[in-house]
Symmetry: D2
Subunit: 334 residues, 4 copies
């Protein structure tokens, strides 16, 4: 099999380092380069002691055309120019930033505070929720890799959405995330002494960027009335739990719908009745664990979904998307 040549732009954050780690160990991939701005010239291992010993190069010194696939682990905004350059150089671009998740340029401008530089690409980009977009991913030039919170929520709802069961429901998603989801940027609220022994709800119920991304995809997957989304920062490094409340209880056969949807998926596990998904089910894996909790007496269905925010919620799903795009075993390197 032909080997895939891959490059990573922005390798020093948590997502970037995880992407490099996966690609460096991937059996079918040659990692051609990884870039950094201020840390160019050092090894990734100097910044992340457990990471592979990969040299960090300046963006100016690499040739995009040398790779088949380009992973962008840049801040939103910065990924737009890099996307254009990557596409021009003939690369498949997998953008892990938020720059190519929303399809509507007006929505992008509203939620990200600046007009998008390539509005045409917003229409072309495929939203890379792998399990539900394989056909489009196989043909994509540009994949907008989903956010970690949306991944945990959408995988938990997609079967019901597809069955048309949520069209009149305002979904409540109470999500809890480890601190690596907030990135590797110096900031007082993310200091150990601020996060440890604390638990911090934030943007409680706000209608904002993540909600826009989630609601766009709720619609695409079958339709719901909307989502109320409350993220919480918890003192763990990795992992997301989304506890999702659906009222009224959607009609019967819920478990069958989920098991049918996911029975042959290598990375989504619907837990048997009586078990509850926890961080421990999925941390340091590309898996999503889903448990179903029917509260008939209160006319409510609860779905709990957990992922590792850096893997299925970012780098892992990006590599999974690459595997699909290039016809590799979808599980390769994961």
């Amino acid at each position: 099999m032909t080997r895939i040549k891959a490059g990573v732009l922005g390798a020093t954050g948590y997502t970037g380092a995880e992407t490099v780690r996966l690609l460096a160990a991937h059996p079918d991939v040659d990692l051609a380069f990884a870039t950094a701005r201020t840390d160019a010239g050092r090894s990734l291992r100097d910044l992340h002691p457990g990471a592979p010993d990969v040299p960090l190069r300046r963006l100016e010194d690499i040739e995009l055309a040398a790779v088949d696939v380009l992973f962008l682990c840049l801040p939103h905004g910065a990924a737009q120019e890099a996307t254009r350059q990557g596409l021009e150089a003939g690369c498949v671009v997998i953008d892990l930033s938020a720059d190519h998740r929303l399809h509507d340029p007006a929505a992008y401008e509203r939620w990200y505070g600046a007009p998008h530089g390539s509005p045409d690409l917003l229409g072309e980009a495929v939203y890379g929720l792998t399990e539900w977009r394989r056909d489009r991913i196989r043909a994509a030039r540009l994949i907008g890799n989903p956010g970690c919170y949306p991944t945990s929520i959408l995988l938990a709802l997609a079967p019901l959405l597809g069955a048309g069961r949520l069209r009149d429901t305002t979904i409540i998603a109470d999500s809890k995330s480890g601190a690596s989801g907030a990135g590797r940027t110096a900031s007082v609220p993310l200091l150990f002494s601020e996060v440890n022994e604390n638990l911090r709800p934030y943007n409680v119920g706000h209608v904002h960027r993540h909600v826009a991304e989630i609601e766009q995809e709720l619609e695409a997957l079958g339709g719901a009335k909307g989502v109320v989304f409350s993220p919480h920062l918890v003192p763990i490094t990795r992992g997301i739990v989304s506890t999702i409340y659906i009222q009224p209880y959607p009609p019967s056969d819920i478990r069958t719908i989920y098991e049918t949807a996911y029975s042959s998926e290598p990375f989504v596990e619907v837990l048997p009745e009586g078990q509850t998904a926890t961080i421990a089910h999925t941390v340091r894996s590309n898996r999503c664990a889903i448990s179903l909790h029917e509260v008939a007496e209160r006319d409510t269905l609860i779905v709990v979904s957990t992922i590792d925010n850096l893997l299925k919620g970012a780098a892992g799903q990006a590599v999974q998307n690459m595997n699909v795009r290039f016809g590799l075993d979808e599980r390769a390197g994961l």
Copy 2:
């Protein structure tokens, strides 16, 4: 002012040790005794290195009649006999176990799996949610100290319940608790290596003991249709966050209702608009912090409430109840 003589039965668990700590430092209280079973003869400080140096005595060796108030930090079931003895000895009994929270003997038997030994006392016991029961507490012989989860949820809802705004609402309460809430009993699921870096929803949506306690009091405070309650174990030692979802949005003036209810309360703080309650607001204090989040676009009100599970959720509220009962400054020793 006359000093109060107090005793603690069952001082070695987290709640018991915290109760002893508060009473030993209370300006108006003399701690007469603290008991333990297997650890009698040792100092409390041998078990809890930061605790006061209080000798642990055998239940057989103490005289209940020597104290004015008896705090029961025993497992449910075991508190019933001690309650009877304490009342006979003329003590005011503050029961921190679950044995005197439910008023209905049939409900007790259903949720705790055995008939209650003194069903008559269930009717007499005052549910000690201090801010909402002061009049009855002042005259009580027996106070059933509320559970930690119910305290966090009921304080967050009482103003709306009292205003009659929740009668048709099924409330969703997504609660996150530190591990001390599960007690100081050897058990594999509570080992550091099991709890750390994990986040574990449990009893998701189950209608069980806590729900029975919450719904009894929702009714007493003004009425609601019911509650869907999902607790989560998070890797912190102390603290509870309850994120509470109310759909549809109850009619207007929400903030005014809360501020009116709590403006003169020393231990309940309604945070200003734009702030969100976190564990850091209340940990190691007897306070409850409440923040209000109106999500008009999705027809939802979210109330976030935080307490320290061992203080306002247990020992602190117990001492607050003692202060009310004996006419002390309600803040004394807290």
Copy 3:
């Protein structure tokens, strides 16, 4: 008794906030002001949710002469000018920075990289290791409050130093500290995701600032050959454990020497034989716990010492020093 008026410069860091917390609750103190630079105009509680609701003022807007005692919680370097101003205004100055710990101006310049602005004050400043300097503290205008690591090590060694037992010994101090000791400044290495699940030795064995401070005081307390000091950052918020190795084993009666030295000290506890000092013994208290471990078969004495770095290692000892200086009960407010 006359009440003491106190002011705090630099209230927003962990040490500053803890100093404000202690002073605001101190029975004999009126807190006149607390200052901040960028956060002036806000309440301390906005930055530290559990802190008292104290307004943060600009340095330019306060009058130093209005207070009896001034606590400096400023970065080293910045405390020198404030010290001069405080002394001129007639205040007693308690400097929690490192600016007045070393007595030798040349040493200060060597270890802090700039000449000291008031070298004469270095000679005057009293090193505020309370238990061993009470006489001088009672008469001091300027107290250099000890560093947290030096406090934990010096309290553990002072009895032996005073007995002349360590003059030929190079002491090994292996210290472990929680992250709050590194301050509340945005920095990637102090992010939760970097500190959590990690344990980081740093400056291992380096002869640097802390060593200069420790060795100055080893000499003053009785003399030792030197110290090898290795700090480690551990994933806890508060607390220091110093495990101190002394080879060869100093002659007999070790326990008697310690018990004699500390038997009447309210804040230093020599644990009984068979017990070991842990963080839990002293966290959130002004205490120091010391345990002695004689390893005769290997000709070694080990002393373990623990403190809370923000209390006995900073704000607590500062308040203790104020109590001594102003003739208050040494335990007041602690």
Copy 4:
């Protein structure tokens, strides 16, 4: 290449589960069985949510002769009978318990409180510190897999021991370990609420089992006068840091000695000057990271060594030993 058939006795503890995880993913191994006592009949994944879905069988139901290599993850004492049975069945036995680490039956009885059931095997067993025993491991029937603390200390000292530099030195080893090293047994001192926000030195300086193991191997590797060993429990799940003090400073060329010893080792990394080994360098890997800190001014050498206690300190080294024993690539599956 012939595939290796492997079995695991005692799969439910942290070490057992990690051994199963490694073997189940090993490219050259077929995992024939994994046993449990009380949990037989369940899947390993039920106990460890992230573990592979391997059925747990009763010891009575498996046939030892069906495997080439048997991993014993049993408590000490219990491994002796299983070792005899495994050897009789023709298996290579890799014992991860402490039962075959000491070579002297009298020493075993002294430190483990009971005579050894097969004293002859103590002489035959090879101490499996892979990097220093490859020749003997290649021919071994029975490998006593080293303890986690000894592994971290011995790898850090072996080069100097081999060079004869430590014969007159009493080494000080200050080790810090995560909680998984204490095993997966219900116990109050290992509860989350006891370990979290605490740091607990224990057995400080005691001459006990681990010291006996370490000193036996210090002697075998070249000789030292003895070791003073102080373990500390820290609130992390996995990882050990050993900070090792050597006085007086052993003669020159230290770095060359280490680099020569380890330059071609796949799993031992001597960090460049100026870097310090941390948990993050080795956690979730089979690596050992070593950093050298020469404190000439105080006549001291400090060596810092870190490993993952469950991998290089247990299951990883066991698999590495299997790889060596069966002529596989030493890195396979690690």
